[in-house]
Amino acid sequence: MATSQENNGEQVLYAAHKKIYPREVSGYFTRLRVLSLVTLLGIYYVTPLLQWEGRQAILFDLPARKFYLFGLTLWPQDFIYLAALLILAGLALFFFTALLGRIWCGYACPQTVWTEAYLWMERKIEGKRTQRMKLDKAPTTAKKIRTKVLKHTVWIAFSLWTGFTFVAYFTPVDELANKLLSLSLGPWETFWILFYSFATYGNAGFMREQVCMYMCPYARFQGAMFDSDTLIVAYQPERGEPRGSRRRGVAPTSVGLGDCIDCSVCVQVCPTGIDIRDGLQYECIACSACIDACDEIMDKMSYPRGLIRYTTENSVLGKAQRVLRPRIMVYAAILLLLCGLLVAHISQRVALDLDVIRDRNTLYRETRDGLIENVYTLKILNMDSQSHRYKLWAEGIDGLKLASDQTEIVVEAGSVYQIVVRLQADELNLEARSVPVSFYLQAEDSNHLSTVEEARFVGPGETR
């Protein structure tokens, strides 16, 4: 069987879909998994409800183009942080995959998290695996229709809540709830709530393991991050084979069999419908359901646990196991370095931005006192959470003077202030046609809030 699967790998991968009815399972890893799934779901639904200093704690404010993250306000200029965060997340995935295998798939991936939630609702309404299979095969009766309608109603309600929560990350949740209750949601808000709800309903209710098999890029390339010391879920064939049924309490050796009683419970619990006894397979999301299931069987038979267990290729082959191997240490070092850089950078972040635009119409002009004058438009962005008064000066040429019609620079929190300034210099002090100058901007009440911006000062130069 194992060989036929290998030969027809592609056919199997693209075979017509058979509906999978995962059997319920309990045990240590299942509890661990449920704990992780419930925590993650909780974080998702509760986060938009958190408040911080009178506003939503985490909010992508699209109209204002700001991202609130508790006390921190990020602007489009801070896009680099988001990019760095994504790179970090990618690296973390490499690190944890090399160390712990597909731990992400089984315990943290949104696809798994929501599928489990929908499966749980399905179980509550339609019953256990055998009952669900029977129900689907049964002829259409009023009771069947009632059960199915109930299930889909509950699913859709949960999906809509999920979609609402998603949009609440972009529109303040109280505003959104008010609009919803007064039926005055905007067309795009409505659209995104429905879009996200539909995606959740489809992915968690129907697509399920097919998302992992056909749509997930990570599932395709995670194998490349594995080595012989990566944690995997595996069956121990040398202990289990030859498999065969027997009565409870019969010692395997007395009937010439291995420890596997061929009860196929491990296959029935598998959310992707594979047989772990065929070896490590691409479809396996390492959810550990088969470990708990088989341990329970082993307990019933009074055999030692662990016929299916978390292990590594090296330990299966009886070789020494290494946790700290070069690959792990390199990933860890890069990860730590990037984390450190990011934290250092954010703590050094100056909540002030200065943009200098030279007047494009005139290169330079001459003042009545015979000085050369250049005109600039300055855009000052105060990214801090309070307003500030700023000092502005320029350096770069001997005797450089800065003049403006606006005498004082006060910028409100989170707003942009525009000011037109004139720089004046004596032609004798200009060493070239175009000289670099620096604009310095500094908040009067904070030394930390200061910034420098380079610009060019243009004069008549040699041509004169």
Binding site: E10, Q11, Y14, A16, L62, P63, R65, P76, F79, L82, F170, T171, G186, P187, W188, E189, F191, W192, Y214, M215, P217
Partner: protein, 88 residues
């Protein structure tokens, strides 16, 4: 096994899904650099909400990426047909 034997639903997914992911990234980068309110397209004076602008931007990116993915799928499938006709 040639790509044209892959069921239609899976072909559709292999076009729509990667382009969806690409569109998310493109939308993020594009709108970090440009404020949609500064970008009146072709000097048209239209009044739309920021959410509408971001959403439309996203769908334009998705459409473009879909066209590109469709092209890749089309060439892959037709190349495979051509090669199998030549008996390779």
């Amino acid at each position: 096994m040639t790509p044209d034997k892959i069921p239609f639903s899976q072909q559709a997914i292999s076009v729509l899904w990667p382009s969806f992911l690409t569109a998310i990234v493109a939308t993020g980068i594009f709108f970090s650099a440009f404020n949609p309110l500064d970008l009146a397209p072709f000097n048209l004076d239209i009044d739309i909400s920021p959410l509408a602008a971001y959403s439309i931007g996203f769908f334009i990116f998705w459409m473009l990426a879909t066209v590109s993915s469709l092209g890749t799928l089309y060439f892959t499938v037709s190349n495979c047909r051509f090669l199998s006709k030549q008996g390779q």
